[in-house]
C-alpha cells in the first residue's frame, strides 16, 4: 500500500491525475485494446447474453448456499492432502501466510497475480517479517519495482508507458549491460523473463490467488496470460492459495460457464492463455507439483454483505469490464480512487471493506451512466448499489453540508408549485436578460463548477408553464 493516496482525498487525487499527461495518454489506450476487444468477442458469441444470465444465476445460487459449498470445498481439499485455513480479516490472512512461510523456512516467495494479496497488504507484511515477495506477473513486477499499487484489477500497470518501464528496468537490473536496447516491448518482456526465471527457481514458497474454488473437486483455478502463475505454484515446495470466500462455485461445469464470460469481458480473448487447476499437493508418481498445498480463505467483510443490498456485489469475477467502460475511470485512472479496487466495482466494494467515512466520495463520483452494469458479465446492478451507498451516507448525515442544504432547498421549492413557479420565472427571466443576445453565460456566481469549464446556455426567457398559461391552455 506504499504511497497510495487515500480515497478520502479523492477530489485532490483526481485533480492530480487530470494534470498528468503521460497517465492520461496511457489510459487512453484502454479504448482500442480492452474495450474494442470485448466488443469483438461479444459480437462473435451469439449466446453471450444467455451466458450472462447463466453466470448470474449460478453465482446467486452459490451465494445463497455459501456455507455449504465452502465446507464441501474444504473437505475435498483435505481429502486431496491439502490444508484449508479460514481468515476473518486481513491481519489473520497475513499471519497465516507468514506462519506457513516460516515453517517452510522461506526467504523468497514468488507470487502470481492476486488482488486479494493487495487487499490484505501481504507484500509489505512479508517484507516486514524477513520474507521477500517477488511479483511474477509482468504488470505486477513493474509496479513492484516502482513501489506502486495496481491501478487496474487485471492490467495493474496500465498507467505506465514503455519508456517508464525501460527506465525502471535500467534502474533495478544493474547487473545487465547498460547499453542494451530496451526500445521495444518485446525486449522489455525478454529481460523480465530472464530476471524472473532465476527468481522462480530460487523461491521457497509460491503464492497465487484463485479465480475459482471448485467445491466438487477441491480444486483452485487461476487464469493467466503469461504462465507465471504456473511457475509460481509448481516449482516451489509449498503452494499457498489466498482467495476470498465468494470465489467458490459448485462444479467444474460452472467454472466452464463463467470462464466463457471472463476473458471475453476482460480482454476480449475467448480464453486466457493459461488455465491452471490445482488439486492438493503432488501425488506419488506426479512429475511435478508442490509438496505442500494450502488454501487460505479470506472473509474480510464479505459474509457481512450477504443478505444485504450489497450481496449482488459478491458475484463479481474481477474481469475489469466496468473499469474499462467507466467514463470516470477512463478520465483519471485507478490510483485516484485511493482504494485497492478502483472503478465502479471498487466504489461499491470499498465502503464495505474500509468503511463509508473514508470512501463516500467513491460512490458519489459517478454519473450513474449505467455502462458498467450493461457490460458486467454477472449483471451486477452497480449504479443501484452506488446509489445505496449514497442513501447510507445521507441517512448517517455524512453528506456534505452544502449538498444537504441544496437538496433541502430544492425540495422545499419543488414541494410548493406556486412558489416554484414564481421563483423559476424570475430566475429564468433574470438569467436570460443577463446573457443578453449572446444566449449563454460565461460566468455566474454560485455556478463556478459549471462555468469554469463550459458556458451556461441561457434560458429562453419565460418558463414553459408561463408561456403555456399565456396561450390559455390547460
Amino acid at each position: 500500500m506504499s504511497g497510495a493516496p487515500a480515497s478520502a482525498t479523492f477530489p485532490k487525487n483526481a485533480r492530480a491525475a487530470l494534470a498528468n499527461p503521460p497517465l492520461l495518454k496511457a489510459i487512453a489506450h484502454i479504448e482500442e485494446t480492452l474495450v474494442s476487444g470485448r466488443r469483438r468477442a461479444v459480437d462473435a458469441l451469439p449466446e453471450f447474453e444467455a451466458l450472462r444470465d447463466a453466470g448470474r444465476d449460478l453465482k446467486a445460487h452459490t451465494l445463497a448456499h455459501l456455507d455449504l459449498y465452502l465446507e464441501a470445498f474444504e473437505q475435498k481439499v483435505v481429502e486431496a492432502g491439502g490444508h484449508v485455513h479460514w481468515a476473518a480479516d486481513a491481519a489473520e490472512a497475513n499471519s497465516i501466510v507468514l506462519d506457513i512461510c516460516q515453517a517452510a523456512g522461506a526467504r523468497t516467495v514468488t507470487k502470481g497475480k492476486s488482488m486479494i494479496t493487495e487487499e490484505v497488504g501481504l507484500n509489505a507484511f512479508l517484507e516486514g517479517n524477513g520474507v521477500r515477495p517477488v511479483e511474477t506477473d509482468l504488470g505486477e513486477y513493474i509496479i513492484q519495482l516502482r513501489g506502486e499499487t495496481p491501478s487496474h484489477i487485471i492490467a495493474p500497470a496500465v498507467h505506465v508507458n514503455k519508456e517508464q518501464v525501460a527506465a525502471d528496468f535500467r534502474r533495478v537490473h544493474t547487473d545487465l549491460d547498460p547499453r542494451r536496447n530496451l526500445d521495444e516491448p518485446v525486449s522489455l518482456l525478454a529481460e523480465a523473463r530472464g530476471v524472473l526465471r532465476e527468481r522462480f527457481l530460487a523461491a521457497d514458497v509460491g503464492i497465487t490467488g484463485a479465480n475459482f474454488l471448485v467445491a466438487e473437486t477441491g480444486s483452485t483455478v487461476i487464469v493467466t496470460n503469461e504462465g507465471n502463475g504456473d511457475l509460481s505454484q509448481i516449482l516451489p515446495k509449498t503452494h499457498i492459495v489466498l482467495a476470498s470466500i465468494e470465489k467458490v462455485v459448485p462444479t467444474l461445469e460452472d467454472v466452464a460457464t463463467i470462464m466463457r464470460l471472463l476473458a471475453r469481458s476482460a480482454t476480449g480473448q475467448e480464453m486466457s492463455v493459461y488455465t491452471t487447476f490445482s488439486t492438493g499437493p503432488r501425488r506419488p508418481g506426479d512429475p511435478d507439483g508442490p509438496e505442500a498445498f494450502h488454501v487460505v480463505l479470506l472473509d474480510n467483510g464479505r459474509s457481512a454483505m450477504l443478505g444485504t443490498e450489497f450481496e449482488d456485489m459478491l458475484r463479481c469475477i474481477r474481469c475489469g469490464a466496468c473499469l474499462n467502460h467507466c467514463p470516470v475511470y477512463r478520465s483519471i485512472g485507478g490510483h485516484a480512487y485511493g482504494s485497492v479496487y478502483p472503478g465502479p466495482m471498487g466504489s461499491v466494494l470499498t465502503p464495505s471493506l474500509q468503511g463509508l467515512e473514508t470512501s463516500a466520495h467513491l460512490a458519489n463520483a459517478s454519473t450513474l451512466c449505467g455502462r458498467c452494469e450493461s457490460v458486467c458479465p454477472m449483471r451486477i446492478p452497480l449504479p443501484k448499489m452506488l446509489r445505496h451507498w449514497r442513501e447510507k451516507e445521507f441517512e448517517r448525515h455524512l453528506t456534505p453540508r452544502k449538498a444537504r442544504f441544496g437538496l433541502a432547498a430544492w425540495r422545499f421549492l419543488a414541494d410548493r408549485p406556486r412558489l416554484y413557479g414564481l421563483t423559476t420565472r424570475l430566475a429564468a427571466w433574470g438569467l436570460s436578460r443577463l446573457a443578453g443576445k449572446s444566449g449563454a453565460l460565461t460566468s455566474l456566481p454560485l455556478a463556478g463548477g459549471w462555468t469554469r469549464w463550459r458556458d451556461l446556455p441561457a434560458p429562453e426567457g419565460g418558463t414553459f408553464r408561463t408561456e403555456w398559461a399565456k396561450r390559455g391552455r390547460h
Binding site: A365, R390, T424, W450, R454, P457, F464
Partner: protein, 254 residues
C-alpha cells in the same frame, strides 16, 4: 369516433426553465399524432436529484406529487429519457412495503413514455412532414438508452426528415459527463468527460448535435460554445416538430 387519447405532458424542470421550445415541440408532435395534450400546472420536478443524492424521503415526496398529478391520463409523455426512467424504472422502488402506493407507482410507470419512444412504439407515427438541411449527429443519453432502450426510435424519426443526414459519432453511447449534480460536484472530471464527447461530436463534421435529454444537451452545448465550435445543439423534438426558428441551445439571439 373514438375519443382522442389523453396525454399528460411532464415537461421536466430543465425544459420548463431553460427551453420551453422543447415543450411546445413535444406538444405539437403529440397533438399532430392525434392525441389531446394536458399540462398539469402544479408539476415541478420528478425527484431525481434527491433520489440520486441518497435522499429517498425527498424523492418520495416529489414522486407522490407526480403520481397524484398524472395518474388520471391515458399516457404520460416526457421529453427526457432521464426523467422518464426515474418514473418508469425507479418510482415503484420508492414505495417498497406499501402496496397501495406501489400499485399507483407501477400503474403510472406502465403508461409513462419517453417522447420519441411514445411517438414510434406506442403511436406508430410514420414520416413527419418536416425538413432540416444539414448533417446531424445523435447523442444517446444514458438513462434513455440503458434504462428504457431508446436508441432506434429517434433515428427512425430523423431518417424521414427531409434534407437531414445523420452521421454517427465514434461512441454515441458514451456518457457526456453531465450526471446531474455530478457535473458541479466533480466538475474537473465532468469536464474531462464532456471534452471527449465534444471532440467526438466535432470529428463527425456534423453541423447539428441532437439528443433527447436537455441536461446532456446543456452540458455539451456549453462545452462546444466555450471551445468556439459552430455546431448547433438542439433537442430532437425541435427538429421533428420543425420548431427551429429560434436560436439553438446556448446560441446567440438573432
Amino acid at each position: 369516433m373514438t375519443p382522442k387519447p389523453r396525454v399528460g405532458l411532464f415537461v421536466t424542470c430543465l425544459v420548463d426553465f431553460f427551453r420551453p421550445t422543447v415543450g411546445f415541440s413535444a406538444v405539437k408532435l403529440i397533438e399532430d399524432a392525434g392525441c389531446e395534450v394536458f399540462v398539469p400546472a402544479a408539476q415541478t420536478c420528478c425527484g431525481q436529484p434527491a433520489y440520486n443524492s441518497g435522499d429517498r424521503a425527498g424523492a418520495r415526496a416529489l414522486a407522490e406529487q407526480v403520481i397524484a398529478l398524472f395518474e388520471g391520463f391515458d399516457h404520460v409523455v416526457i421529453p427526457s429519457g432521464s426523467c422518464a426512467g426515474m418514473i418508469k424504472v425507479h418510482y415503484p422502488s420508492l414505495f417498497a412495503g406499501e402496496p397501495g402506493w406501489t400499485l399507483r407507482a407501477e400503474r403510472l410507470a406502465a403508461k409513462t413514455h419517453e417522447l420519441t419512444a411514445f411517438l414510434t412504439d406506442v403511436l406508430g407515427v410514420g414520416p413527419l412532414p418536416t425538413a432540416w438541411e444539414g448533417t446531424a449527429t445523435y447523442h444517446d443519453s444514458c438513462s434513455g438508452l440503458r434504462e428504457l432502450g431508446v436508441k432506434d426510435q429517434p433515428r427512425k424519426l430523423l431518417a424521414a426528415v427531409d434534407g437531414l443526414t445523420v452521421k454517427e459519432m465514434r461512441d454515441p453511447e458514451s456518457c457526456c459527463g453531465f450526471g446531474g449534480t455530478f457535473c458541479v460536484k466533480y466538475d474537473e472530471i465532468s469536464n474531462a468527460i464532456v471534452d471527449r464527447k465534444a471532440a467526438d461530436v466535432r470529428s463527425t463534421g456534423a453541423n447539428l448535435l441532437l439528443g433527447g435529454d436537455l441536461g446532456c444537451l446543456l452540458n455539451i452545448a456549453g462545452k462546444l460554445k466555450r471551445e468556439g465550435s459552430t455546431v448547433e445543439v438542439r433537442h430532437v423534438a425541435e427538429v421533428l416538430a420543425g420548431m427551429t426558428a429560434g436560436p439553438a441551445i446556448g446560441g446567440a439571439k438573432r
